[in-house]
Amino acid sequence: MRGAAALILLALFVAVAAPSPPASAIGPGEALEDAKLEDRARVIGRQLRCLVCQNQSIDDSDAPLARDLRRLVRKRLTAGDDDRQVIAYIHARYGDFVLLRPPVDERTWLLWFGPALALLAALAFLFRRLRRPRTAVTAEALSPEEAARADVLLGDRGDEP
């Protein structure tokens, strides 16, 4: 079970660095000269929703609004904002809906922590179940008649993964 704890730790670690496709719908002349700044703009762009589109980030969309937002992001970055400030700037003007990574608040606790809690609960359940010697349950032997029937139904049961 210590292995499981290590895995969870690893999992949390990975969560910070999950990749996503860098492809985008960005147009000619939009990208910033400064490659580092442009990289940051892409990371931010993938976290903002194109409000008039169906499930697209501003980086994925050809819509004029998406292009305006991409420009806005780059303008704020060039002005010296850090990533968090840029996102906060757009969040303040367009509301929660613009954030593809929903904010962590009382509405979204279940969303963010539900799966992890479910995993922990399941692990705890399994841990107790497998730890406890199950003396009460003994496998019942098949009667000869049942065994014969099982053989007929199953054919042979050889080694198989």
């Binding site: 670690f13 660095a17 492809a23 169906q54 809906f97 969303l111 199953l154 050889g158 993964p161």
Partner: protein, 661 residues
């Protein structure tokens, strides 16, 4: 006439489905042989009549019978024959008929190939299939009749959504439905077992081939959808965590868990109750997917029915099926006896890890998909749940899953020695860590993600190769001996090895194309050149063409490498008539190891065009891997012990047993 024949056939099919739900069930309860076998006949009949209805609808589309409303709304006489046929399921009504056709096919298959299943259980399975069929046939007849006529008859149709006029998307729904609906059989097996109050190792054995078949088709269907998104949506992405994608992905995740737990149920007589729950959940998620797509609750790129009345009807089917199944489970499952004992570190334990992570991953996807709807419905505002959420929650679950997948085949049943297994894998551990270290060393930007992805891929593929080598005693026995062992290996072992290695191939593709993509966006005039990842792409110009039912601006790009011309690529911007819908057709040159991907944008300045050039390394491996997974499933399915109906029949008919709950 054909429309009336089709409508009538649907009604007959619904009546047969009613009989199919009642008679075999009653027969199984009273152990009445004739009533039980009537189920098989009715299932065959239902299939025949749904086929007639489907054939009639197809005929109406092929002959462009514009007296049928559905044809008017979704077809056009200028459409190529292929898309007149695939247009049958490129709309709500027709796609539901296809759903029913595949459902009836699976029901009939249980009747045709289920000889080895105990008659009582088989009768109940067929009855449950009949009930599902009845519900969906009633849905079509009451809310979505595809055979409605229009009067007066218009001169021509309105045409199929141009996005659907594409080979990838044309065959995406049938494959997806083979998967979705295939899980109805495992669901029916679960319900039938609960009704009988008896689940034994044989149950696991009977369920496995059906789960395997459904899973294989679902894998292929999802991959085809993703491939379509890649080449059609025009910016080289392949998975968008779109709600409709998620709707098909959730049954896949839980279905994968079922596939593995059923092995434990068969081999070790354990996890039986859990397998039944997974079978119920998998089909429930398939139904949920159908509901989400068909009801218009979610608006998405490829939703084509938005009708609240229909949504309500499907919601009712959903509530009765899922609610009823879970209630039955809560009532009967506690009486099911537990089976084989095992230690946490064992093959059973590893398969439980798979089950746990797959179901939690499905839960994550479910939460992410439904949460915005729930928050909105509760009046708490509008929120979005997009790729950043899914990447942050889903990827961390997949990493340990792949680690466990590599090591599980090295663990024996019941009680295993983890240190011993790792000792056998120590070379692979070193190679994996080495590969990850090299990636960290070479890559600056997303080094952690890249190293993790490549490490996991090396691990998955390497472990499969080692497992295979160990089985055939490669280099430890004479080569002839190894070959003999390989030939004697059960097909299901080959299938597992292939599918597990394929998972590594998919991870390689996802990682490499995400991390090492090159993108160039610029305005190009005829004669301009651009350099992408060692290729020189020269823009020759744009011409206007008219092809069939669309107009296109077609770009011409010549691709060369060190002065050697390799290919001419022609990306297009199309406008489909008669709707005047624009679409973008990327041009792709693939080497199987990478794609050069060109998108023609809008005119820009004098004679110039916006052009996007991408180099996507290893991206084809995503779909190659998915196809290998499918083949793994198919190879497994041909295993003598899996082959539906193949095992020897019992000499004397097996008596149905009284319920023991």
């Amino acid at each position: 006439m054909s429309a009336e024949i089709g409508h009538f056939a649907l009604i007959v099919a619904a009546v047969l489905a009613l009989g199919q739900s009642v008679f075999p069930m009653a027969g199984a309860a009273r152990r009445h042989g004739a009533l039980m076998s009537l189920g098989g006949t009715l299932a065959t009949g239902q299939f025949v009549f749904v086929s007639i209805a489907f054939g009639a609808l197809t005929w109406a589309f092929v002959t462009s019978d514009f007296s049928v409303a559905n044809v008017v709304q979704n077809s056009h006489s200028a459409k190529p024959l292929l898309y007149r046929i695939t247009g049958v399921w490129g709309n709500h009504e027709g796609s539901m008929v296809l759903w029913c056709l595949i459902l009836a096919l699976f029901g009939a298959c249980v009747a045709w190939f289920g000889d080895n299943v105990a008659p009582g259980l088989r009768a109940r399975v067929i009855a449950v299939q009949g009930m599902i069929g009845l519900a969906f046939l009633a849905f079509i007849l009451l809310t979505s009749n595809p055979f409605d006529r229009v009067n007066p008859m218009p001169a021509d149709g309105r045409g199929l959504n141009p996005i659907l006029q594409d080979p990838g998307l044309a065959f995406h729904p049938p494959l997806l439905y083979l998967g979705y609906v295939g899980f109805s059989v495992t669901f029916a097996f679960a319900i039938a077992a609960l009704l009988e109050g008896r689940v034994d190792a044989a149950w696991g054995r009977w369920v496995r081939p059906w789960a395997l078949a459904a899973w294989s088709f679902l894998t292929l269907g999802i991959a085809l959808g993703s491939w379509w998104a890649y080449y059609e949506l025009g910016w080289g992405g392949f998975w968008f965590w779109d709600p409709v994608e998620n709707a098909s992905f959730m049954p896949w995740l839980v279905g994968t868990a079922l596939l593995h737990s059923a092995i434990v149920a068969e081999k070790r007589d354990a996890l039986k109750s859990w397998s039944i729950l997974l079978a119920i959940l998998t089909f429930s998620l398939s139904l949920l997917g159908t509901f989400l797509v068909r009801s218009g609750v979610l608006t998405s790129v490829h939703t084509f029915a938005t009708d609240p009345e229909r949504g309500l009807f499907i919601l009712a089917i959903l509530a009765v099926t899922i609610g009823g199944a879970l209630a039955l489970y809560a009532w009967r499952a506690p009486a099911l006896k537990g089976g084989g004992l095992f230690r946490p570190i064992s093959r059973e334990g590893a398969l439980i890890v798979n089950n746990l992570l797959m179901t939690v991953a499905a839960l994550t996807v479910l939460f992410g998909t439904l949460y915005p709807l729930i928050v909105d419905a509760l009046g708490l505002g509008k929120i979005s749940v997009g790729p950043p959420y899914f990447n942050a929650t889903f990827v961390p679950l997949m990493a340990p899953l792949i680690l466990a997948m590599g090591i599980a085949p090295f663990l024996p049943w019941k009680r295993a020695d983890l240190a011993g297994a790792l000792d056998r894998l120590k070379l692979l551990v070193a190679v994996t860590v080495g590969a990850a270290a090299i990636v960290v060393f070479l890559e600056e930007r997303h080094s952690f993600a890249a190293a993790l992805g490549i490490g996991l891929a090396v691990w998955a593929i390497g472990a499969s190769v080692l497992e295979l080598a160990g089985r055939v005693r490669l280099f430890r026995a004479p080569f002839g001996e190894s070959l003999r062992r390989a030939a004697a290996m059960p097909r299901s072992a080959w299938g597992m090895t292939l599918a597990h290695a394929a998972a590594g191939v998919v991870v390689t593709g996802i990682t490499a194309s995400s991390v090492w993509q090159t993108e160039i966006v610029r305005v190009m005039k005829p004669g301009d050149r651009a350099e992408v990842a060692g290729y020189t792409v020269a823009f020759a110009g744009v011409q206007e063409v008219r092809v069939g039912n669309y107009l296109a601006r077609r770009g011409r790009f010549t691709v060369s490498e060190s002065g050697v011309a390799l290919a001419t690529l022609s990306p297009e911007k199309r406008v489909y008539l008669p709707q005047r819908t624009p679409t973008t057709e990327a041009a792709i040159r693939t080497t199987w190891f990478s794609d050069l991907y060109i998108v023609l944008g809008d005119p820009h300045g004098e004679g110039g065009h916006a052009v996007r050039l991408y180099h996507n390394p290893l991206v084809p491996w995503i779909w190659i891997g998915a196809v290998l997974m499918f083949l793994g499933g198919m190879v497994s399915l041909t295993d003598r012990r899996h082959r539906v109906g193949a095992p020897r029949r019992s000499v004397r008919p097996v008596q149905a047993r009284p319920a023991e709950a």
